[in-house]
């Protein structure tokens, strides 16, 4: 087994989940209505839970403990896609990011549920069931808001156009694509992207929104190789403020 390739895969997934989970948790207490606040916070917590599972696998492969991996690395060591680190804007921004990301995440973990790496396979089966609800939530909310009134439609449309190039950045290749595919650990970003295109097309055809030809857009790459926006270091600093006060504290 190619340990470096496997670690690379786990790191990028864990970092995506941790960073987006943290971003989405920033809505806690500020959500548009109480019920949605709770639902969105709950899904953010799931995301952090997924990242914990990934960091734990890394720990078993010889990396440091999950808390250290999550809180005590610098931004240039993070492998998350740029989409996840963008600061929150209006709610439709976060909602659209949540849907586009989790479409890809569901496809990814459905695929990993038959990974040749057994420990990942077992966890993927759990994660994909949680993503069922996440995508159900994203689809219903986006569809409803896209058709509610001209203002909500315009907001959803604008956030879709803004977010698509960043969403394509999810599928940026890692240096180990071929190794992972050959070892049947992961079927590769291109395969996930093809299925994502189909899913996204199917879904937006059912809404009042116009989906541009996504194959013609220029993806926002960089995240997977550690080239981040300035927003990521700020997020990590805030996230690790407590642990840095006393890294050995027992929780």
């Amino acid at each position: 087994m190619d340990k470096e390739a496997l670690k690379e895969l786990l790191f990028k997934m864990a970092d995506d989940q941790l960073v987006l989970g943290h971003r989405n948790s920033e809505w806690t207490g500020l959500g548009p209505m109480l019920e949605e606040d709770i639902a969105f916070s709950s899904m953010a917590q799931d995301k952090i839970g997924h990242s914990y599972a990934m960091y734990s696998l890394l720990n078993e492969l010889g990396e440091r403990d999950p808390d250290t991996l999550a809180f005590l690395r610098n931004a240039n060591n993070f492998k998350n896609s740029l989409m996840c680190e963008l600061p929150n804007n209006e709610y439709e921004f976060s909602l659209m990011r949540h849907l586009l990301f989790d479409f890809a995440e569901l496809i990814r973990f459905e695929s990993l549920a038959s990974s040749a790496y057994k420990p990942l396979q077992i966890i993927a089966r759990k994660i994909k069931t949680e993503l069922l609800y996440h995508t159900m939530h994203g689809k219903s909310m986006v569809k409803k808001l896209a058709g509610a009134n001209p203002e909500s439609k315009a907001k959803m449309q604008a956030s879709l156009i803004y977010m698509l190039p960043f969403a394509l950045g999810i599928f940026e290749h890692s240096p180990y694509e071929n190794e992972l595919i050959d070892l049947e650990i992961f079927e590769g970003e291109d395969a996930i992207k093809e299925k994502w295109f189909i899913k996204v097309n199917e879904f937006f055809n059912l809404t009042d929104l116009d989906l541009p030809d996504v194959t013609q857009l220029k993806p926002e790459y960089g995240g997977r190789t550690g080239k981040h926006t300035k927003h990521l270091q700020a997020l990590i600093d805030e996230m690790s403020e407590v642990i840095k006060l006393d890294p050995d504290a027992e929780w």
Binding site: M33, L34, E35, E36, I38, A39, S42, M43, Q45, G49, K126, T129, E130, L132, Y133, M136, H137, S140, M141, K144, A148, W251
Partner: protein, 198 residues
Amino acid sequence: MKSLDPRVNRLPSDDSSVAKPKEPLDQLATFEVFLKKSEKRLMEHVGIVHGADEEIAFLFAKEQFSRRYTCIEMWIVKSSNTFATGYTEADVSVYDSIKHIDGVANEEYCIFHLLRRGKQHVFAGTVEAESVEHALSKAKKSLGDTQVFNIWVVKSSDLHKWSQKELWETLPDKGFRDALAYRAGDKLKDYLNERKNG
């Protein structure tokens, strides 16, 4: 009864046998949420959520009411499609005042009972009837041999059901959502002891 005192306006109406639609609250429409904790438990009412429709209400209800504890099925019905009788006191059952009505058995209705004051309504069974009043009358015959403080009647076709068990599959792994998991009390006690002794 017209009064400026809210306590007076909350008094039950004189005739508890008449089932009236529940009043909607503010903002978006409200929806009643029922859930089943396990195969052995009855479907029971757990609360109310706002929503644009039943689908959105379910999304909200799922995290509102089945975030921590087990759940295998959830039902959602619009509050205005939930018909509630008045409440009775002590050893009087609502069924005592339900009158017999004849009718055609052309639609299914679900009956929910409040068996103890301060507890939740639980699913009691279904009856075939042509109206809410008729459903109550039929329920008195088939389900009315227990003491019931309040009855809700819902047309089965108004109930939206989610029974995809996968949705709740990982709940047992989420013990961390319960404050108890952090044993904060124990840690505080240890800390205070340490301070006292050291």
